[in-house]
Symmetry: C2
Subunit: 121 residues, 2 copies
Amino acid sequence: MPSTHLDSTFAALADPTRRAILARLALGEASVAELGEPFAMSQPAISKHLKVLELAGLISRGRDAQRRPCRIEAAPLAEANAWLERYRQLWEQRFDALDALLADMKAAEKTARKSRPRRKS
Amino acid sequence: MPSTHLDSTFAALADPTRRAILARLALGEASVAELGEPFAMSQPAISKHLKVLELAGLISRGRDAQRRPCRIEAAPLAEANAWLERYRQLWEQRFDALDALLADMKAAEKTARKSRPRRKS
DNA sequence: ACATTTCATAACCATTGAGTTATGTAACAG
DNA sequence: CTGTTACATAACTCAATGGTTATGAAATGT
């Protein structure tokens, strides 16, 4: 309903090869051959991954003689991040709760020592 | 290489139905029927989506009579967020660069009016 | 004991995804 | 023109996804 490309973005990020390619591209432009070098995989397989990334808007490609240098495009990543942000409190309040719990325990311990040193469960 | 469950997490998030389910669960626990109500989809289809979310660790399920209340588990979301954070500069430096450019233009305009149009480094 | 509610599982189907090999093509070098 | 480099596309295999209908099973109500 929100009419975004979150589908293709998350789908693209679901593959470790593609995440690794993005990690490489975060360091700067690279050719198809360079991108494929770390992987035990045929060249067309890499081209397919790049096409997925391109369709998701995560990379764009230029021309340099016979090479097709790829560069990362961060906009979809920003969108994905924005989506996740809506849930940030969900994993942060966990720690808040833990903090509160620890504080309670400390307080209880203090109280226990001040008055009667009994019970601890 | 990082040996995380980013694959299943991002794959789970790639489906709009599942994202909607998570959005609903962010508001609190819900039964399977409640979760499926907004969708024009059979009940087994919803159960399948819930299984995907469960296997990805994004939800957990309890027991309340015949109902199986689902609750959201944010840990995988935090992991996904952490992964994306590594690329934050990529979409923030864009705006930084834009800001810098605009600042430069403003400065240049002022300078141009004050003295002659000088080059900057 | 029996029916109902709530959900899960099984079996099936169509589509997509990730990989392969083989082949085509654009740009350059001789 | 010929060959080479760097990449894309085609055609195929196989497994996984996302949906369906039909059926099974656990807890509850009567």
